[in-house]
């Protein structure tokens, strides 16, 4: 979680300097969900992510430096600078992302169908936000996954806001989890600030998928600490709401659990934090020295042949 938080903070440094010249969407405050997925997937399992994808990629094991270099528009980036922060691809880990809301779920469906064809135990994970669940693509993919009983796990990060429109104003159902039975899927709503709750639900969904029992939806409640993108005036959420919700920091919550159970001491946690901050800071300094992609290469890669 600390790596994820510090990675996002490092990205923020590139915005005022224009090193990142376009939109940047960070997931600060939603770390417990990605952290809850760590440890249950292998490189043969697929993950399809969103415009807010950095922490999902970290959970899947994508190389941090290569990703940071992509976000900072360097030729050393994981996609050579051709993708940008919303379009991270790592085929060696079956990780991909899309900037189109809801579009990753049908792609994950394809990975899930591939697992069926190959007859292996692989699962496909689609991570989406609450905005995506109202797209047609989400319904089409869920229906087909249910009809074919495919190994698909959909993790919905419900941060309650689709840019400026609250979830409560845009969903016919009170929860997303309750929609699951209509697609022969298992649905559960969890506290997305609680890494253990997420991990337990995720593990169960992955086991269910691997056993051939079909798709699951995990609705993880959370809060987006920052605007939809960097530069978002974020006037749609009241100051009071933002202050109150940001006080429920998943990192602090995890820290308290570790201390309360005697799993770590304050000194140990501070030392870990110092070390992660130093590593990310060194990584950022190093990435900043990398070259930009050569402009003449812009017409490469349109076609493979």
């Amino acid at each position: 979680m600390l790596w994820m938080r510090q990675f996002e903070l490092a990205c923020l440094e590139g915005v005022p300097t224009r090193e990142i010249h376009g939109e940047l969407h960070t997931g600060v405050g939603q770390e417990a969900i990605s952290a809850g997925m760590v440890g249950f997937l292998s490189k043969d399992d697929a993950m399809c992510s969103t415009h807010r994808n950095h922490m999902h990629a970290i959970a899947k094991g994508v190389d941090l430096r290569a990703m940071l270099a992509e976000i900072f528009e360097k030729s050393t980036g994981i996609c050579g600078g051709f993708g940008g922060h919303m379009h991270i691809f790592d085929p060696s880990l079956k990780f991909s992302a899309t900037g189109i809301v809801g579009a990753g779920v049908p792609v994950a469906l394809g990975h899930a169908y591939a697992a069926r064809l190959k007859g292996n135990q692989a699962v496909a994970v689609a991570v989406v936000g609450d905005g995506a669940v109202n797209t047609g693509a989400f319904h089409e993919a869920m229906n087909m996954a249910g009809a074919l009983s495919l190994p698909l796990v959909v993790v919905v990060e419900n941060n309650e806001w689709a840019i400026s429109v609250p979830f409560s104003a845009s969903s016919a159902t009170e929860t997303i989890a309750e929609r699951a039975p209509s697609w022969k899927a298992h649905g559960i709503r969890v506290n997305g600030l609680d890494v253990e709750e997420v991990a337990n639900a995720f593990e169960a969904a992955v086991i269910r998928a691997r056993s051939g029992a079909g798709p699951s939806i995990i609705e993880a409640m959370c809060y987006r600490f920052r605007g939809h993108f960097e530069g978002d005036a974020d006037m749609y959420r009241s100051k009071e709401e933002k202050e109150r919700r940001r006080a429920e920091d998943p990192l602090e919550r995890t820290k308290e659990i570790l201390l309360g159970r005697g799993l770590a001491t304050n000194d140990e946690l501070n030392e870990i934090e110092r070390s992660v901050v130093a590593s990310i800071s060194e990584m950022l300094a190093s990435v900043r020295k990398d070259p930009s992609p050569a402009g003449k290469d812009a017409t490469r890669y349109v076609f493979a042949e």
């Binding site: 697929a46 399809c48 980036g77 994981i78 996609c79 050579g80 600078g81 051709f82 993708g83 940008g84 379009h87 691809f89 790592d90 085929p91 079956k94 991909s96 899309t98 900037g99 189109i100 579009a103 779920v105 049908p106 792609v107 994950a108 469906l109 394809g110 990975h111 899930a112 169908y113 591939a114 069926r116 064809l117 190959k118 496909a124 047609g136 693509a137 089409e140 993919a141 229906n143 087909m144 009809a147 490469r300 890669y301 349109v302 076609f303 493979a304 042949e305």
Partner: protein, 333 residues
């Protein structure tokens, strides 16, 4: 020349898919009614029986799921052939087509490939505005897609083989007016070998040689263009007819060679007129500073395809309007 086999064009496509699926176990066919039914035009007949319901998947009417699934399958190393029954239906899933299938190779810096065929039926058969479009100009405008539209059985089979083996996404538009036409009824490309062969994507075909005017077209308007050219010959006008076969890549070299000889160009396009194939062909010739004394574009004049035959005949190129356009191009109208 051997006697043409008793096949229609859709059977030639099905034969190509049989051979590709036999040759490469990674080839899949996914779409609506492609399995048990063998496709609404019969172009996937027999595939499910031979290769099973895993490799030949009947889907719900969920085009976003079909195309998105194709992306995931391609990321897993498969070569999916996705059938979108009519090209008009692409509207409900264009996102996956142009934001993922067309762009993933580029956005990943060449790391992932999208060897996907989007197989779809286009062209006019009297079904009105939502079931009679060609739309190849739309796909060609979006970078990252190859766009193929065959005009005859020989090309259909060979181009499909090339499309399936291509590492790039290919939109393969079959003309509905040709799909059920028997091979023996074609005056060109009627002889279809039973074995596998390929026709390269991006190489135009000079269907008929001529010296006075270059007529550039593809798909369903090649046959009426050839008939119109024969009629023009009787009036002393020699028309060279070029079947582009694909519009991405566009074989402008073959067109340029012809126009250097004739100096006159007529583009016959069953797609919409503006911002499309006809302007692209002419502009590329001008960019090459090729001397052109006469230009004419015959395409659907920026109206939806009407329902009634009397209205349709007015706007969709046919032998009569092509003949008139030939006469205008040579200044004998």
């Amino acid at each position: 020349m051997t006697v043409a086999r008793n096949l229609n064009l859709s059977q030639c496509i099905s034969e190509a898919l049989h051979l590709e699926m036999e040759r490469d176990p990674q080839v899949l066919v996914v779409g609506e009614d492609v399995g048990g039914q063998g496709g609404v035009f019969g172009a996937t007949r027999g595939l499910q029986k031979k290769f099973g319901s895993g490799r030949v998947l009947d889907t719900p009417i969920s085009e976003s799921a079909i195309t998105g699934m194709g992306v995931g399958l391609a990321l897993e190393g498969y070569r999916p052939v996705l059938e979108i029954m009519f090209v008009d239906f692409i509207g409900v899933c264009l996102d996956q087509v142009y934001n993922a299938i067309a762009k993933n190779h580029y956005m990943s810096g060449g790391k992932v490939r999208m060897p996907i065929v989007i197989k779809t039926a286009g062209g006019c058969i009297g079904s009105g505005a939502q079931h009679s479009q060609c739309l190849w100009g739309l796909f060609a405008h979006l970078p990252g897609l190859k766009v193929v539209a065959p005009s005859n059985p020989y090309d259909a089979k060979g181009l499909m083989a090339s499309a399936v083996e291509s590492n790039d996404p290919v939109v393969f538009i079959e003309h509905k007016g040709l799909l059920l036409k028997r091979a023996e009824d074609f005056t060109f490309g009627a002889d279809v070998p039973a074995e596998r062969y390929t026709v390269p994507i991006g190489k135009a075909n000079v269907v008929r040689e001529g010296t006075d005017i270059t007529l550039v077209t593809l798909s369903g308007t090649v046959a009426p263009s050839v008939l119109a050219a024969e009629e023009a010959m009787r009036k002393g006008i020699s028309v060279e007819v070029i079947d582009l076969r694909s519009i991405v890549p566009l074989d402008i070299d073959t067109v340029a060679t012809s126009v250097k000889k004739t100096g006159k160009i007529l583009v016959v396009d069953e797609d919409y007129l503006s911002f499309g194939l006809s302007a692209e062909v002419v502009t590329r010739l001008l960019e090459r500073k090729i001397s052109i004394t006469s230009v004419k574009r015959l395409a659907v004049p920026d109206v939806p395809i009407p329902g009634a035959l009397s209205l349709e005949q007015e706007v969709v190129p046919n032998e009569r309007s092509i003949s008139a356009a030939i006469a205008e191009t040579v200044g004998k109208a």
